[in-house]
Amino acid sequence: MTGLHYHYQVPGDDFTRAGEASGAVKGLLKRLGLDPEVIRKLSIALYEGEINMVIHGGGGEIDVDIGPAGITAVLADHGPGIPDVDKAMEAGWSTAPDYVRNLGFGAGMGLPNMKKYADGLSVDSRVGEGTVVTIVVHTAPQGL
């Protein structure tokens, strides 16, 4: 099986569209017939990341690679970056403005939740340049 690659643009100026890419990926994974639990884990982690991109990063790009061993999603924005990634990984810590909480998000659960659902998560952030989040979900048993 060769790998499949998909690219999505995430607009940063329209919160109502946040999640379009994640929804498209979920539909794609369903059509490919992947295990429902794999789809669920990737979808939730990706959706959280996409919401973060819109709230904090001003939008960006998502690249999804589907291979024999798993799915890798790379979310890249050119927002302000995260000054303290370790702090951002703490449950309940949030810099989201009040209007975001009124929209049902910004409880400081985004990155911790992504970590919970992903088999692998890395956050590479540079203040003033942007953030790259990589989510990995395995589709096959890992080596012994």
Binding site: T16, S22, E48, K116
Partner: protein, 117 residues
């Protein structure tokens, strides 16, 4: 119970999902914070909320939920209904408040599902 039972118990109006009314559901959750739904909910089929925006439907979609109930008489706009239709997620509205809606469904047999630490 079925979604038809949910509709009856809550005296709800069905906005979308006539074909889904015979779907059996066993669990539900109630929240206005989609962050919490994504973080703490597992295996729930019905989302009860007073939040009205498209992210409610997207959250339900990601969590594999089959029905969203808007409480306090909140009415979804056409874009929300269209998204729910596209994702095949039933949408209902009830004038009950959140606490009452959850209580009625719990009394009727719906459970909270898996407890997540």
């Amino acid at each position: 119970m079925t979604l038809r039972d949910v509709k009856t118990i809550l005296d709800a109006d069905l906005v979308f999902g006539q074909d889904l009314l015979n779907h059996t559901v066993n669990t539900a959750c109630g929240s206005d914070m989609m962050s919490d739904v994504l973080a703490f909910v597992k295996d729930q089929a019905v989302l009860i909320t007073g939040l009205v925006n498209q992210q409610v439907i997207r959250t339900a979609e990601m969590m594999d939920m089959v029905c969203v109930v808007f409480v306090r008489g909140k009415q979804p706009d056409q874009a929300i209904v269209d998204l729910a239709r596209d994702r095949n997620i039933a949408v209902m509205t009830t004038t009950h408040r959140m606490f009452t809606a959850c209580g009625l469904l719990y009394q009727g047999g719906l459970k909270g599902g898996t407890h997540i630490q």
